[in-house]
C-alpha cells in the first residue's frame, strides 16, 4: 500500500470516484486551483469554479443531486456553511422525508474544519455538532489517510447527504494556505499518524457510522474524532505510564454514531471521557452521554471540549482546544473519582 498524505488520500479517492462514475462532479470556490490535479485530469466541466455564493451553489448541489448527479460541493471552511445553512437544514436533509421516501439527495458537502494554527474563531470551528443536529444528514470526520479515502468513497456512494469534514491540521495544503506554512518560522502540532499513512490502492470504502478501536484498555474509554483521536492516543501513552489503561475509540463520524462500540466500551471500562474539539454544549459529548444513559450505562463521565469561541492568540488557543494536558488531567480526575 502506498503512503499518502491526508490531503492526497482525499483527492485520490475523489479522483477514483470521478473516473468510475461520470455523475460525480465537484464544484466550489477556487476548485480550479485547490483541486488542480483533478482539474487537469477531468477539466472545467467536472471541476467547476463557483462564485462566492455558497447559499446558491450548495442548494444547486441539492437540486443537481435530486436530478441524478452526485455532486461533491466544496464549502472551503465549514464556518462558511452558516451562509448556506438553509440548503442543509430545510432542503437537503428533508427531501427524503418530504417526498415520502420517494426522492433522495446523494450529495457530499466537503469542507475543511478545525483549529490549531492561529486563524481565529471564524475560521477554526468544527461544527460537527451543529451539523449532526439535523436529522437526515451524516457527518464524517476522518482522522487519517486511509479513513479519509475510505470515508470519501462511502460519502460519494451514499444515497443521502453527507457532510465530509477535513481537519486542517491534517491537511498540509490547508495549513500551508491558512497557517502560512510556507514560512519556516512557524510550526504546528500536527499528529504524524494523521497527516500521512498507507492507503489501499484502489481505496477501499470505510462505512460511515462504524467507529474504530484505536487502542484497547480496561480502565477508561476515550471517545473522539478527527485530530482529537491523536491527542487521546498521546494522552493514553502518558496515562499508561501511570498504570492506567485507556481504550481509545475513533468515532469516524459524528452522525450516525456507532452506539454499539461506544456502549460496549463504556460498559467494559465504566469510565468515559469525551474529547471533542467542537463546542462543549449541545454537541457530541452530550449526545454520547444520552446514548450511554439510555442504554442504562452508568459510567463515570467527563468531557474535554472547546468551551467557547476560539481565540486568535496561539497561546490562548492552545488552552481552549482540547490538548494532551487537559485530557490527561481529566482522565486522572475521572480515575481517581474526583469531580
Amino acid at each position: 500500500m502506498p503512503k499518502m498524505t491526508f490531503a492526497q488520500a482525499i483527492d485520490y479517492a475523489l479522483g477514483e470516484a470521478m473516473a468510475r462514475d461520470e455523475r460525480v462532479v465537484t464544484f466550489g470556490e477556487d476548485v480550479t486551483m485547490l483541486r488542480r490535479n483533478l482539474f487537469v485530469r477531468f477539466g472545467p466541466r467536472r471541476v467547476r469554479q463557483a462564485p462566492i455564493s455558497e447559499a446558491a451553489f450548495l442548494a444547486a448541489g441539492v437540486g443537481a443531486a435530486m436530478a441524478g448527479l452526485r455532486p461533491v460541493v466544496e464549502i472551503m471552511l465549514v464556518d462558511f456553511i452558516a451562509v448556506a445553512f438553509d440548503a442543509l437544514l430545510n432542503e437537503a436533509s428533508k427531501v427524503r422525508a418530504f417526498s415520502g421516501g420517494g426522492w433522495n439527495v446523494p450529495l457530499v458537502v466537503r469542507a475543511a474544519c478545525g483549529g490549531g494554527y492561529g486563524d481565529g474563531g471564524q475560521h477554526e470551528q468544527c461544527l460537527w455538532g451543529l451539523l449532526s443536529a439535523m436529522p437526515g444528514i451524516s457527518v464524517a470526520v476522518p482522522s487519517n489517510p486511509a479513513d479519509a479515502a475510505g470515508l470519501m468513497l462511502s460519502a460519494i456512494d451514499s444515497d443521502d447527504p453527507v457532510v465530509y469534514l477535513e481537519h486542517k491540521l491534517l491537511s498540509d495544503y490547508w495549513l500551508d494556505y491558512l497557517g502560512g506554512g510556507s514560512r519556516g518560522t512557524v510550526s504546528f502540532d500536527v499528529p504524524r499518524e494523521g497527516a500521512e499513512g498507507e492507503v489501499a490502492c484502489p481505496p477501499s470504502p470505510v462505512p460511515i457510522g462504524k467507529a474504530r478501536l484505536v487502542a484497547e484498555g480496561g480502565d477508561l474509554s476515550l471517545f473522539s474524532l478527527g485530530v482529537g483521536v491523536h491527542r487521546c492516543v498521546e494522552a493514553a501513552r502518558s496515562l499508561a505510564e501511570r498504570g492506567i489503561a485507556s481504550e481509545v475509540i475513533d468515532l469516524r463520524s459524528a452522525c450516525p454514531l456507532d452506539t454499539e462500540l461506544v456502549t460496549a466500551s463504556a460498559r467494559k471500562t465504566g469510565r468515559v471521557l469525551v474529547v471533542d474539539e467542537d463546542y462543549i454544549a449541545y454537541g457530541l459529548s452530550g449526545e454520547l452521554a444520552a446514548v450511554l444513559a439510555e442504554a442504562g450505562i452508568k459510567a463515570d463521565f467527563a468531557r474535554v471540549c472547546s468551551e467557547g469561541a476560539i481565540p486568535f492568540s496561539r497561546k490562548l488557543e492552545d488552552e481552549v482546544l482540547p490538548n494532551v494536558r487537559r485530557i490527561t488531567e481529566a482522565a486522572l480526575r475521572l480515575c481517581e473519582g474526583r469531580p
Binding site: A55, A64, S99, G100
Partner: protein, 341 residues
C-alpha cells in the same frame, strides 16, 4: 408557432377548479395548515408550463399546485397528499408546501427564494445528463429580495444554466406592499446580472405563452438563462383565511377582533407620539383598504380573459370536462382517504 388557446384555456380551467376544490377542502377542515392558493396565477402557470417537455424540471414555491396541475401530475395522489393520506403523492409527509414528483422532476419548498437555486441545480444536472432540457423556477416578487435568489441569478449566468426564472408579481408579500421594501426595479435588477428579462402581463395567457416560449427556447439552446416578470393579481389574499381579507368578508367580526386592541394602543400611556398615532392608525387602515379594493374592484381575472379567446361552446365543453375531472379526482381521493382512515 401560435398558442393553442384551447389547450391553454383547458390548463387554466383545470388549475382554477383544483384551487377551488382545495379551498373547499381547506374550509371544511380536511386540509390542515396554511393554504396558499394560486388563484390569479393560472395564466402564468399554464403559459409557462405549456412549453415543457419530458425531462424538463420545475422548482416551485409555496404556491406550487398550479404548475403541477399544468404539468400533468396525477390529480388523485395530489389531493390525497393534500388531505394527508399515506397514499398521497408524498405519503402524507409533504403537504401543500412540500410537493415532490420525482417523475416530473418537480419539487417545491416553503422557504421563500429557494426555488431559484434548486432550479439552478436541476438546470446544472441537465447540462450533464440531459442536454437540451431546461429547468423553470417559479417565485414571487417578494422572494426577489432573498439573497439566495439573487445569488442564483448570478450563478445561472456564470454557469450558463438552461434555466428560466419566472417571477409572479402580485405586488404583495403577505401583508407587505413589496414596492415599499424593494429598491429599484426588478426587471433592471435581473438584467444587471447579465440575463435577458422581460415584463409580461400575467393575466394574459397568450402573452405569457409567447414570452415563456422565447425564454425556454433560449435555455434549451444552451444560450442563457432568462427572467420573466409576470404581473398577476392575488385574488385570495396571502393564504386562505387571510385575516386582512376577512375584514371584507366578515367586516363586523373582524373589526370587533382587530379594532379594540388598536384603539387601546391608540390611547395607551405614556402618550409618546400621541399626536401621530391617528396617522399610524391610518396607515394600517389604508393597507387594509388597498388590499380590499385591489381584490374586489381592480384585478382582472385571467381565466375570464382567456375565456374570451376561445369559442363559447368550446369553452363550455372544456369547463365541464375540467370541472368533472377535478370533481372525480376529489371524490376518488376522499373515498380512498376515508376507506383508509
Amino acid at each position: 408557432m401560435k398558442a393553442d388557446m384551447e389547450e391553454l384555456y383547458r390548463s387554466m380551467a383545470r388549475i382554477r377548479f383544483c384551487e377551488e376544490a382545495l379551498a373547499n377542502l381547506w374550509q371544511r377542515g380536511i386540509i390542515s395548515g396554511e393554504m396558499h392558493l394560486g388563484v390569479g396565477e393560472e395564466a402564468v402557470a399554464a403559459g409557462v408550463v405549456a412549453h415543457l417537455e419530458d425531462g424538463d424540471a420545475l422548482a416551485l414555491d409555496h404556491r406550487s399546485t398550479p404548475p403541477l396541475v399544468a404539468r400533468g401530475v396525477d390529480l388523485v395522489p395530489l389531493f390525497l397528499e393534500m388531505i394527508g393520506d399515506e397514499r398521497g403523492l408524498c405519503r402524507g409527509w409533504g403537504g401543500h408546501m412540500h410537493l415532490f414528483s420525482r417523475e416530473h422532476l418537480a419539487c417545491s419548498s416553503g422557504i421563500v427564494g429557494s426555488s431559484a437555486p434548486l432550479g439552478a441545480g436541476f438546470a446544472l444536472a441537465a447540462q450533464y445528463l440531459a442536454p437540451g432540457k431546461v429547468a423553470v423556477s417559479f417565485f414571487g416578487e417578494g422572494a426577489a429580495n432573498q439573497g439566495m435568489l439573487l445569488e442564483s441569478l448570478n450563478l445561472a449566468v456564470a454557469w450558463r444554466l438552461p434555466q428560466v426564472f419566472v417571477c409572479k408579481d402580485n405586488r404583495w408579500a403577505i401583508t407587505t406592499r413589496s414596492r415599499s421594501v424593494t429598491g429599484g426595479d426588478l426587471l433592471r435588477r435581473a438584467r444587471s446580472f447579465g440575463m435577458p428579462a422581460c415584463r409580461v402581463d400575467g393575466t394574459r395567457v397568450e402573452a405569457v405563452w409567447e414570452a415563456a416560449g422565447k425564454a425556454v427556447r433560449r435555455a434549451r439552446a444552451g444560450r442563457s438563462p432568462s427572467f420573466l416578470l409576470a404581473s398577476c393579481p392575488r385574488r385570495e389574499g396571502h393564504f386562505l383565511g387571510d385575516p386582512l381579507l376577512r375584514v371584507y368578508r366578515e367586516p363586523l367580526k373582524q373589526t370587533l377582533e382587530i379594532g379594540p386592541p388598536l384603539v387601546r394602543s391608540l390611547l395607551s400611556r405614556p402618550l409618546q407620539a400621541f399626536a401621530l398615532r391617528p396617522l399610524y392608525m391610518g396607515i394600517i387602515g389604508k393597507t387594509l383598504t388597498v388590499l380590499g379594493i385591489e381584490k374586489f374592484l381592480l384585478e382582472p381575472d385571467p381565466l375570464c380573459r382567456a375565456a374570451r379567446l376561445v369559442p363559447d361552446d368550446v369553452r363550455r365543453r372544456i369547463d365541464q370536462e375540467a370541472r368533472e375531472e377535478v370533481e372525480r379526482a376529489v371524490s376518488a381521493a376522499m373515498e380512498r382517504g376515508k376507506r383508509h382512515a
